[in-house]
Symmetry: C2
Subunit: 353 residues, 2 copies
């Protein structure tokens, strides 16, 4: 069998015009250019491993190893891209190199028949992922109605695919809190409301806090500030002095450095009709319910939520663990990104390709 | 009913000699002292909430709220301790205050009948936990054959109990690697072994790496250094130059800051007969198998392992998430603490009391 002769030039592999018929028209490999075909390095490596190409560099034939080493020197992330490209091809997808990093066509379709459906971005588990860039990429994909997929190559070269999309969770709670008035004390790092009737209403109708005993309610700091800002509770220090809003924020921020960021997400979630409880047992800031009908029958929570600043950088193993845990308890993992006074949500879930 | 009259003095509540009979001899509350009984603040608050005591401060009777606020001002972590003490009492345990923080008697037993069985240490989820202090506490407990339990109070005052013990995991793999020789290239952040036969042996008998294709094996950096240090592979850069051990470590450490720490745990686990693979999907450094018989039938892995420096401070929500994830996939969560050239293990699991 005569293999197609190609030349490695820079970060491209160039083939003659016979390749247009053999590779482009039948398999949608490469891009026709100047009477020939231009292949990316990953396409060339893949075709070489399938015995379709001879690749020459300065007149010398390169074996797979020599070409792979050359390609790795010439293109950043080459191995990662190769691992992902090969995986997608072997799953039967048509894949084209693109700015970030591949365009993938729907199953059964190919270039020319329909548009690509998925943008795939490739990362090593060791590379940090800026949430700002991620949000931009997701928005770009969603603007043109594409799915955004992150393909993470771990240190052992195993692949995990994550679908990332923007989200606007809406809850179904008719009112964010019962109309009561209660007196409460800011203790060391939590707040106790003392009135039995108000405590009972906040707990069993508003789903706030946890009863210390049948009469008194323990509230978290974010719960307390939310109820305080709504005029539901008055908060005093242990000597009886009433806190102002700013004094409360200052004290809470001493206890928990990122208190205000966490509060902004708590507030946004409560305001949009959710019941929001701590996610401590899952290692996240919150677990979130769209609707709770009765304190005796707390349903399954829909979301786990981590609150992050807008300049956050994901460490992918940490993100992976959070998503895996959420999925293992049948919840969605949401990241609430603090944007000034607003909060934007990213929904990250593992997907099979 | 006549309540026992007591006095709040400093961080103790003092009762007369009738309390010795009523509280100490029947319920093992407090410590007899100077012809009377001395109660800790949590004991007193608990007894007060059960209607057993009147507590006075400077001649004035304190209600539950007033005493609680006073106690919170007088003792650090008072609320946390109260929450844990009350929970344990309501579960039917006999509990005594101790240095760190409670001694708990076995079910059905009490002080004087048998020794305490459990040391319970109380923390807020917001308090950092020094691994050094933790190791000391666990060792102290284990030296006197006690169980060490960490009671974590989350921001909503819910309680989670963790049992923490030292561990010495032992695997059952007869030989750590097959006796082959292979040539490999250090690419961008991973290594490829090129020889088909050696690659196959390393993969299917040593359970190293992941095949790139039927001929070539991708190895992680820790796997590569382990095999390299055993003389199994020779590692070259992409231009063919052979790495020395130090050069490999230097390059790998540039790619991954804590490479050597991770390697020391990888080496310890492999040397003790385990098969060690990446834990990326679980957000941990490693997943660990005690025994793998065949690459076609990879069993359930027993452990997830995170490697930490000896001056590490646990953030409890992060620890909680890791333990929860491990338990949800039926594995033990181990923390491998780097101690010079050695590695010590802490096994942390959630328990019900």
């Amino acid at each position: 069998m005569n293999l197609l002769k190609t030349q490695l030039k820079g970060d491209r592999v160039l083939a003659g015009k016979e390749a247009v018929a053999e590779l482009y028209k039948t398999g949608y490999f490469g891009r026709p250019k100047d009477d020939g075909l231009e292949l990316s390095l990953v396409e060339a490596a893949y075709l070489q491993s399938r015995g379709k190409l001879d690749i020459e560099l300065e007149g010398k034939l390169l074996g797979f190893r020599a070409f792979f080493e050359q390609a790795s020197l010439r293109q950043q992330n080459f191995e990662l891209k190769y691992i992902v490209y090969k995986d997608l091809k072997e799953r039967g997808y048509y894949v084209q190199p693109s700015a970030a990093d591949f365009r993938v066509y729907p199953r059964g379709s190919h270039p020319g028949k329909s548009a690509a459906k998925i943008f795939v971005h490739v990362l090593s588990e060791r590379q940090p992922l800026s949430v700002k860039l991620l949000q931009e990429s997701v928005a770009s994909a969603e603007n043109v109605h594409k799915q955004f997929i992150l393909a993470v190559v771990d240190e052992e070269s195993d692949l995990t695919f994550y679908e990332i999309k923007s989200a606007s969770p809406k809850g179904e709670m008719p009112e964010p809190f019962p109309a009561v008035k209660a007196d409460a004390t800011f203790l060391e790092d939590r707040v106790i409301a003392w009135d039995a009737e108000a405590s009972g209403a906040l707990y069993s109708r508003g789903f706030y806090g946890k009863m210390l005993d049948p009469e008194r309610l323990q509230l978290s700091l974010v719960e307390s500030l939310y109820l305080f800002s709504r005029g539901v509770i008055v908060v005093r220090d242990r000597k009886g002095k009433i806190f102002s809003f700013d004094e409360f924020v200052e004290k809470a921020s001493e206890i928990e450095g990122s208190f205000l960021r966490k509060y902004s997400a708590y507030k946004a979630l409560r305001d949009s009709g959710h019941v929001v409880k701590t996610g401590f047992k899952f290692g996240t800031h919150f677990r979130v319910y769209r609707k709770v009908e009765s304190i005796e029958k707390i349903p399954h929570s829909e979301y786990l939520v981590n609150v992050i600043p807008e300049d956050y950088e994901f460490r992918l193993p940490v993100m992976s663990g959070a998503v895996r845990l959420a999925n293992s308890v049948r919840k969605r993992m949401l990241f609430a990104v603090e944007k000034g006074e607003e909060v934007e949500y990213l929904d990250i879930g593992r997907v099979k390709m």
